[in-house]
Symmetry: C2
Subunit: 342 residues, 2 copies
Amino acid sequence: MSGVVVPLNKKDDSEGRKPGVEPLMALVANDMEKVNRVILSKCGSDVQMIPEVARHLIDSGGKRLRPMLTLAAARMSGYEGEHHVTLAASVEFMHTATLLHDDVVDESDLRRGKLSARKLWGNEASVLVGDFLLGQAFRMMVDAGSMKALEVLSTAATVIAEGEVMQLATAKNLDTTQDEYMQVVHGKTAALFAAATEVGPILAGSNKGAVSAFRSYGTNLGLAFQLIDDALDYGGSSKTLGKNAGDDFREGKVTLPVLLCYRRGSESQRNFWREAIERGETDNSRLEEAIRLMHEHDALTDTIERARHYCNLASDALAIFDDSPHKRALNEVLEFILLRAH
Amino acid sequence: MSGVVVPLNKKDDSEGRKPGVEPLMALVANDMEKVNRVILSKCGSDVQMIPEVARHLIDSGGKRLRPMLTLAAARMSGYEGEHHVTLAASVEFMHTATLLHDDVVDESDLRRGKLSARKLWGNEASVLVGDFLLGQAFRMMVDAGSMKALEVLSTAATVIAEGEVMQLATAKNLDTTQDEYMQVVHGKTAALFAAATEVGPILAGSNKGAVSAFRSYGTNLGLAFQLIDDALDYGGSSKTLGKNAGDDFREGKVTLPVLLCYRRGSESQRNFWREAIERGETDNSRLEEAIRLMHEHDALTDTIERARHYCNLASDALAIFDDSPHKRALNEVLEFILLRAH
């Protein structure tokens, strides 16, 4: 193994601070303010419902990790213009559009603990405002003026949709293999992280090796991010559940912890999973049983282990670059992602 | 009034042939074959459901008027490359994506007389395959390499979505004015026709006046096209109904014939419309009554009259160009559109 190895067992760094996204946020704070302004202005429309729905989602937060990656990758690559702000905003719009369409596809009533847009305004508005944001995202990419970046982001749009369709096909299917599942994750999560990061060095006119390195960082970070999310839905390695935990179980999603647990279980345990995932028997006592089985079979710790593997790949990818505050901040994001599960 | 006036009362031309799209089809036949090949190849995906759903829609026909307009406008503008084929295919993909999302929004079970994709594969697949096609459309635009064309088409994507959202807001609202309704039509139908036509001269590097002329042709053709569609849903000026007629009535759509009929009616007739459109009382005897009222108030002939107005604008827009087979074919499309309603 080459490059920086993420010190994953270390929960605090030398100053006693836990790894977090704060150093990244601090580095891109000025640019991020501009991104937020662009986001607000490009949500605007004479059609009143559009800013209403869009801002519901955009205001409901999340860390805006994807646009931060675009900004950081551009600056770390020596980019000195302003188009990275436009591309970062368009990346966030693509992400928001995906969330709106996902809620329709999953028939979700909640998103980040709030009522989902489809619940508040209906499926129609969610589909159409998603389309509007996707259109705006492309318009903004055109404004940024880089054909190469446009190619990367429009390709990501198709790969994301492919990943989501693939997920439909694997839905409730306990025979899904780890490989098939990772392919879904590649599409639905990693593709946008990869594109978001890759367009930074593209804007800067970096060489092919540097562009690939950032792409690899983004892809592997995205894979790890999704796996940790999957583990957290069952409480991660701790035994306390987060506030939105259990959603995947109730929706019958076949995620990595479920796959592992199903394969490693006894026949009667497999029966339990079939009842839960295929037939929707997912009351609270069954959720508790599911978590118990996951601990029995190390399904959560091993999911986190897989995520650690991808974080290591991401860190390796950045190893070709000289030390810099940006590089350190990007590596710290990897540690942060893994720590979330503990 | 300047330019060529469409001879609308003449149903047959000097050779006794009815105006049609055949001359346009003949002019673009070679290019259109290439477009069809591109469409088939770009529907492909390792994710099996994507080509299945996409081809269901793409094979179910329609005249492919939009891509034909792109091809004809490019050639008429002297374009000699091959990128117009790529753009034409991406225009058709945008259109197909819109249809897929529309069916979800309208909860339609039928599309062009066949079961809709959402009925066959579910809302999820319709939303996601639509997203895939939209992503592919943008990838193909990038392939075509014209930033200006990309700008026009990505702007159209947002305007289409805005039009559809506006339509949600006017749904079942009989107080909608003609102006408001025309704004909806501008978005949901005319924007794509306009963009499809405009990108032709853009590729050819035509001057601003020529580009605007084609855009104006496309816009006004699109407006007329939608109004004739609205009239046909109630049988047009004839008293026989086409095979998919009555859909708008059953879905409670407030289209131009309805608006006119509602405004011109007596209080008891307005009450009839409120029961039908707002409360969904739309059985066959009520559809017959609706059509009777439309004839009583000239709602259909006046809708066709409005369409004729837009066709005249479209024809005027082309008047700056010298006579050519392409120009004649484009003008004939306008006559054809109006004739559909008789």
